[in-house]
């Protein structure tokens, strides 16, 4: 055997092993996606890959079909959790990849209607934690130098030892990125218990605001029972800074209210009838009604 065929067989074995944890999410007329058998009876996938259908047909690793029902979704970290009742869904816990740096081999494995879908490449970029557009805290920034098939969206990314790096997802401009294993575990565990991830909540509706000396957001509605109201924020106030950092636009405020902000205190710089002031608000949770 040549070195090359050994390499080839080793790669194939890695894909084969990983694919035993990967299911296909068949979504009728919509683009299909993949999911990972995370723990027994529980499948994680990318929230964006799931779309509007929340009860989905799955093709299990053994080729059988099963029905997955949504247990919870968190758009802030792009993770959704499905429950499935099937013999084939009994699994051991995933072994997480340990050291990961740019240049390490990365293999993405999904499942389509014809079987496994594999892609290989290297870790292009590996950095610290980052915030998604919706304010979710993603523990590591891992971008891949590989061509991710849309049907493998939500599938598994493993390293050269077959250990789990994370969930395959698409970032801005359709670049392949990984939602790292520790983020998947953290969010999926919370979803399994509570069904949703509480975001930070101020209880204000905002509209954009700009002027010669900067930008901000105008309060156009205040929840009478919300944290902002309790702290003394009024309709017509202009929010200009969040704990010292300028507020660029309304979305900026949304992004800063990620799940990990619940319970924290922020200092809002507010302009009220042209008088600057600052207000301390304890970030709450959206009340259940």
């Amino acid at each position: 055997m040549t070195n090359l065929s050994q390499f080839s067989n080793a790669m194939q074995a890695l894909v084969d092993k990983a694919s035993r944890r990967v299911v296909a999410i068949n979504a009728g007329d919509r683009d299909a996606a993949s999911g990972i058998l995370w723990r027994s009876g529980l499948i994680v996938t990318a929230d964006e890959a799931l779309g509007e259908d929340e009860d989905v047909e799955l093709t299990m690793p053994d080729g059988g079909t099963a029905t997955g029902t949504l247990a919870g979704r968190d758009p802030s970290s792009d993770i959704a959790l499905l429950r499935v009742e099937a013999q084939a869904a009994t699994v051991e816990s995933l072994k997480a990849a340990s050291i990961m740096k740019s240049g390490h081999l990365a293999i993405a494995v999904g499942r389509g209607s014809n079987g496994e879908i594999a892609a290989s490449g290297i870790v292009k970029e590996c950095g610290g934690s980052w915030r998604s557009w919706a304010g979710g805290l993603i523990d590591r920034r891992i971008l891949l130098d590989l061509d991710l098939d849309s049907r493998a969206h939500g599938g598994a990314v493993v390293d050269a030892d077959g250990n789990f790096i994370g969930l395959a997802a698409f970032g801005p401009r359709n670049r392949a990125l990984v939602i790292p294993a520790e983020t998947v575990d953290r969010i999926a565990e919370a979803l399994a218990v509570k069904g949703s991830i509480a975001r930070g909540y101020l209880g204000v509706a905002l509209r954009p605001f700009w002027r010669r000396r900067g930008t901000g957001a105008v309060v156009v509605k205040v929840d009478a029972d919300g944290p902002a109201k309790r702290a003394g924020v009024h309709v017509g106030d202009v929010l200009t800074a969040w704990s010292g950092e300028p507020i660029r636009d309304v979305h900026d405020v949304f992004r800063r209210l990620g799940p990990d902000t619940v319970g924290s205190t922020v200092t809002l710089d507010v302009t009220r009838a042209n008088q600057p002031t600052s207000i301390e608000v304890v970030v709450g949770e959206r009340p259940h009604r």
Partner: protein
């Protein structure tokens, strides 16, 4: 933020003078504003010329920052005739929060520009325009749909929407679909992004 020098900041209560010929509309405007302790609302002509903001259905004689309540001037050319003192044009269906926000902003020297053009508030020399996607029945979400949109912003599944609003999953799905359609959104995330830009979601 440092206040711009050319904007006189009102001290104490902001005096709003409502000059509207239709008694029903005038009464509605007064009632929308009267619960706000920051405002002092006066019905009728601005005798003392000490009001900070005039709320009118036509261009008043006194030179004061004015908010026009008007449902018929969709044509941009009509807006030109309002002149420099008109800082906002709002539909008669305007709700309490938006009207109060508009009064506070106009009192502070701002012009409110339309939601269809550059969205939001500005102190640039911009022509006032209608906040056309607010109070316009065609584009406005129902209270139910607004509640659904807020739940989507908090990551709720259809099941959770149903539970929170005490409706069936089927009905929840229907509301989600109608929110997406009205906002012309591709998916939930897109609907949330649009809703945030338009100030429809409680953050």
């Amino acid at each position: 933020m440092i206040p711009a020098g050319d904007c006189a900041a009102p001290r104490g209560k902001i005096v709003v003078c409502v000059v509207i010929s239709d008694p029903v509309l005038a009464k509605r405007m007064v009632s929308l504003l009267s619960g706000d302790s920051r405002l002092k609302v006066r019905l009728g002509l601005d005798d003392g010329h000490d009001s900070h903001v005039i709320l009118a259905d036509r261009l008043p004689a006194s030179l004061r920052p004015t908010i026009i309540i008007d449902d018929h001037h969709h044509d941009e050319r009509d807006l030109g005739r309002w002149g420099d003192d008109v800082r906002a044009v709002l539909p008669s269906t305007v709700d309490e929060d938006l009207l109060r926000a508009a009064v506070m902003m106009v009192a502070a020297g701002f012009t409110i520009v339309g939601a269809d053009g550059p969205r939001g508030f500005s102190d640039e020399d911009a022509e006032p325009a209608r906040l056309s996607d607010i109070g316009d029945d065609q584009m406005t979400l129902t209270p139910r749909e607004t509640a659904v949109l807020s739940l989507l912003a908090h990551g709720a599944s259809n099941k959770l929407v149903a539970r929170e609003l005490e409706i069936s999953v089927h009905t929840a799905k229907f509301h989600v679909a109608s929110v997406l359609a009205k906002l012309k959104a591709r998916n939930r995330s897109d609907a949330v992004a649009i809703g945030i830009r338009r100030g429809l979601i409680l953050l």
